[in-house]
């Protein structure tokens, strides 16, 4: 255990090693570690931002759905109203048409009845004339009674 100049040699080596570490090892490693730390911090921040924007868009979606729901309800209401209206209109039109057809049919019936009555009247008149002719053939002049017959015909 004798002290000698090894002391100085080792001290010089020691300082050389410290300088080497401080210049070439520590900064390299530190740079890599710091860069990774920054990456991780950035990643976490991005994640946080993503979470926030997801929240916001979730709210937006909810709002949009709410609006759509209201709008849909409105549309359905309008459609129902319109449907009722259409039905009402159709009813009215149908009623009017029915009314018109009824009137037309009545008119037809009346016409037909009056025609039949006319025919009947003519036939009755003819029959009456024929009958009267047969009765009067012998004693009555047809011409002389034609006036009378016309008067009767008109009364019928």
């Amino acid at each position: 255990m004798n002290i000698n100049a090894t002391l100085f040699a080792q001290a010089l080596v020691f300082f050389a090693f410290i300088i080497f570490t401080a210049k070439f090892i520590w900064p390299h490693m530190l740079r890599a570690i710091e860069a990774r730390q920054k990456q991780i911090a950035d990643g976490l921040a991005a994640g946080e931002q993503g979470r926030k924007s997801l929240e916001v868009s979730g709210k937006q979606t909810e709002q949009t759905i709410q609006e759509a729901r209201v709008r849909a309800a409105e549309i359905v209401g309008q459609a129902e109203k319109r449907g009722a209206q259409v039905i009402e209109e159709a009813k009215t039109v149908a009623k009017a048409e029915g009314e018109r057809e009824k009137t037309a049919a009545k008119a037809d019936i009346q016409q037909a009845a009056s025609r039949a009555r006319e025919q009947l009247r003519e036939q009755v008149a003819a029959l009456a004339v024929a009958g009267a002719e047969k009765i009067l053939r012998r004693e009555v002049d047809a011409k002389a009674h034609a006036e009378l017959l016309d008067g009767i015909k008109k009364q019928l």
Binding site: N4, A5, T6, L7, Q10, V13, T21, F24, A32
Partner: protein, 274 residues
């Protein structure tokens, strides 16, 4: 191997001899070539490996090698962060702590190499004494602790100015009253002397004792009654060596850690104003 020696003392003395290159000027200027060369080699290998890994370091997903180095550097950075609060630790103190830790762990680990194998290997190239554990050389540990001491003084003066440093020498820790100056000065002297002394001798003592204990255990195995049977002696020496080596792992790492922590603490304290 041990049986070739005449006595235990000779065996131990032979294994604890230095490969010293004597200087002309006298005893002090000679150099323990083994300590210096081993220390330089180990430091270069350790720091070189770190440099190699760190040079290709990526900020993305690290590989296994990089993860290991990051673990080491993160561990040391945590220690420094907890103690040093006086400016940018990345500039000097953290790299210094890393250097100290890596270097001392490697130097201490040389204790795991079987002393007889090392002696035999160096004997083959004609070198008959080579101390393979640089930290079991008191010169190495004093070189480290005195360097730390120099840093302490340097940072103390850099932080407080020369006047501030001298002021503290006389006015702290007891107070600035002129009557207390001698007491303060004496106290600070004791502190300044004891710090490097305990710092270096703690490491030296542990490693030196570890080395000697290996030698003693093998001596014991070789000379005990087990050794009458060749394989009995072999097995006992293996068991003893293994037992101590496993326990020594703890000491190797612990002493390196303690030396690093004290380095950080001393340099941090030098920055503090009283």
């Amino acid at each position: 191997m041990a049986t070739q020696y005449k006595s235990a003392t000779e065996y131990i003395e032979h294994h604890l001899g230095f490969f010293t290159k004597p200087a002309e000027g006298g005893g002090f200027w000679s150099i323990n070539v083994d300590s210096v060369v081993t220390a330089v080699l180990l430091g270069s290998i350790g720091l070189g490996l770190l440099w190699w890994v760190v040079r290709g370091a990526t900020a993305g997903v690290p590989g296994k090698r990089q993860a290991f180095v990051e673990l080491l550097i993160g561990f040391i950075d945590d220690q420094v962060k907890g103690i040093f609060h006086h400016g940018d630790r990345n500039k000097f103190i953290a790299p210094a702590a890393l250097t100290v830790f890596v270097w001392i762990v490697l130097m201490n680990s040389m204790d795991f190499l079987p002393a007889d194998w090392v002696a035999a290997a160096f004997g083959l190239i004609g070198v008959h004494a080579w101390r393979i554990v640089p930290t079991a050389d008191v010169n190495t540990t004093f070189a480290l602790s005195l360097s730390v001491f120099a840093m302490m003084i340097w940072f103390s003066i850099a932080a407080k100015g020369l006047g501030g440093w001298i002021h503290e020498l006389f006015c702290a820790p007891f107070g600035g009253h002129p009557l207390l100056w001698p007491a303060n000065f004496l106290f600070n002297c004791v502190e300044y002397i004891s710090k490097p002394l305990s710092h270096s001798l703690r490491l030296f003592g542990n490693m030196y004792a570890g080395e000697i204990l290996f030698l003693l255990l093998w001596m014991w195995a070789a000379n005990s009654s087990f050794a009458q049977d060749y394989f009995g002696g072999f097995i006992v020496s293996v068991l003893l060596g293994l037992g101590w080596a496993i326990f020594h792992i703890l000491i190797v790492l612990l002493q390196a850690y303690i030396f690093m922590m004290l380095t950080i603490v001393y340099i941090s304290m030098a920055h503090e104003h009283h």
